[in-house]
Point group: C2
Chain length 381, copies 2
């Protein structure tokens, strides 16, 4: 067994919820039916007041904690923060983690069959916004009998969902935990996403998104997209200490330079290859667009204070010092707007070398602050 | 006429120098002959003591100032800094600007004919290091009768050439001007270059570099590479103030999201397209590798102080506050090593919003400091 059952939720099993009531999307189109795959950890208490929703980021999914089999080599993506005695303590909370609509890990998305055509949706799957995710998550809450979440928690794009919940369903959450996120992407962030999408579109195998019908996978384009993303999730310092200028092969002295490869090159290629074997290109396009288009305050006259006045919950906002993709300055904008809107907010900027990736890592002060806040949540404060 | 002749060197004409003495390259291979295309601005004085060499950056070339015809819409790439009354004052200096070996603007490189095969070199052109450029530039100096440069000036990759000159030919320059450069690239920088190269290699039209034989151009790959580069040359702030989240087309309200395009996306695509029509992919591979492999102190036991002890000139080092590709911290490493090596050095960190691109722009304090330093150079101090 790869795990010590004291420190993990252990074996978990995904479940599927089928929804047959049509879902009106922000783009104007309607999904007549859809499925959401999700996992739960811990036990829902009698008054159904201990439920925590996990919202995933760009390439995340429902499998946030535990193992799918005893042979599983890797646990869920947020094992560091979800489990017995961890910040989101499964001894106290009933945790729900789903794959978002439009995803490629089991929920209805571009790789699913369009019931109206009998063919895979592919690039014709409707564009999905953060608010559509929130609406579909609210239906999942209904299904599970959860009127009000103790907390909704998300990092990065997940934090955007948590904030949107606070505005759309202000009476359905008591706490909103927003980690390494932003009120909206900067031009630089949009630019990186655009490069990623162009890389995918440039891959001839992508075929305007119709690769599944051709039994092809745009692995090079998707790998490139991931490489760009990956560099931006790490800090310059983290890359320096992880790889420096170490060589994997070849020599920088006299010789054939075709053989020279830096460790960082090899690492990035590996990351790109791994990802392109496991993720769907149309989903990547869809998810990055949802990120780009998100703008919490747009319909509130571009005034985040006005937007947050609708909220009715307490907030924890966390940023990381070396995160340059969702920098501390972006989190401070959230905090400033919350304070001006007279909402209870706790903010911490965590010293961490790991850039945006820090939100997934067991950094002691981060874990401590997160645990302390969730303890307040558990105690109903 | 597009220019006011008071503020520019005006009409200029490239010249070609042919070299028939074999050049031994750092990789161990030898070029039996080669050509360098160059321009000169101003007049060489009688004692040949007022010559300034301009070393270009990644995608630069010999055309640094002035216009090639009266219809020319754009002047040379460093028109802001070279000309009458400008920092590199052509009333005082004789300026030499060349296209480096391996380039694609007229000097011998991957697009040239390999005399041994009668075919274009393409990907078989030997890899070129910064030291090879310096050696070929020294031969050009010999040809022009310049024993000792008043100054050698370069930004970014150009600054690396200037520093290498100071170590390889310590008695052939009096001043070394190193702008927005570094002793070596960081892992993050190498990573961005690797993404750029992968983008080019992933373009089927690239054909392992043999696109010229196929009469093809890997425009998509080269465009993508440029997009990645371009984002990293601008600061987050510069992109925010230049584009923000402004839309070029479509709407973020209800509607078809395929139509939504941010200004920054459109700008990047334009930049990518422009570049891929004007630059050679094999040259881009070669230039980025020269950048990655450069490491000033490698052969000096990785000790930059020991390296700089060989130098015999004065230094001006300039960085820009928002440059995150060649950050002020990298320039301070140069300055610290120069001070420890007991070399005369002037250092300034210029407040600028424009990121790495700032070195090409007319930022008043930058122009003032640069002008003042070059005045010292002109006065023989």
């Amino acid at each position: 067994m790869p795990f010590d059952s004291v420190n993990t939720v252990g074996l978990v099993h995904p479940e599927v919820a089928q929804f047959d009531e049509p879902l009106q999307l922000a783009c104007g189109r309607t999904l007549s039916s859809y499925e959401l795959v999700y996992e739960t950890y811990g036990t829902l208490n009698d008054d159904r007041s201990n439920a925590v929703l996990i919202c995933h980021a760009l390439s995340g999914h429902h499998h946030a904690a535990g193992y799918h089999s005893e042979d599983d080599r890797k646990p869920g993506w947020w094992e560091q923060c979800i489990g017995p005695g961890k910040p989101i303590d499964t001894n106290r909370f009933f945790v729900v983690s789903l794959n978002n609509l439009g995803g490629c890990n089991g929920s209805t998305g571009p790789t699913s069959i369009n019931p109206e055509t009998g063919k895979v949706w592919g690039p014709d799957f409707p564009p999905v916004r953060v608010r559509d995710w929130v609406n579909s998550q609210a239906r999942l809450a209904d299904r599970l009998g959860i009127d009000c979440w103790a907390a909704i928690v998300g990092g990065s794009l997940g934090g955007m969902q948590a904030m949107r919940w606070a505005l759309e369903y202000p009476d359905r959450l008591r706490h909103c935990v927003v980690i390494a996120s932003a009120l909206r992407l900067s031009a630089q962030n949009i630019a990186f996403n655009e490069v990623a999408r162009q890389a995918i579109e440039s891959d001839p195998a992508f075929a305007d998104g119709h690769y599944q019908e051709n039994n092809e996978v745009p692995t090079r384009g998707l790998g490139l997209a991931r490489m760009v993303g990956h560099i931006t999730y790490l800090s310059d310092d983290a890359m320096a200490s992880k790889f420096g200028r170490d060589l994997r092969s070849g020599t920088l002295e006299l010789g054939d330079e075709d053989q020279v490869e830096f460790q960082v090159q090899s690492y990035l290629r590996y990351q790109g290859n791994q990802f392109s074997g496991n993720f769907d290109a149309n989903t990547y396009m869809l998810m990055t667009r949802a990120l780009d288009y998100f703008d919490l305050a747009r319909e509130y006259d571009d005034d985040a204070v006005k937007a947050f006045r609708k909220a009715n919950c307490s907030f924890l906002v966390v940023s990381f010092t070396t995160d340059w993709r969702f920098s501390p300055a972006r989190s401070r904008e959230i905090v400033d707007a919350l304070i001006a809107a007279d909402k209870p907010v706790t903010y911490t900027n965590i010293d961490a070398d790991e850039g945006h990736d820090a939100f997934l890592l067991p950094i002691p002060r981060y874990i401590d602050v997160f645990s302390a806040y969730m303890q307040r949540v558990a105690e109903g404060n």
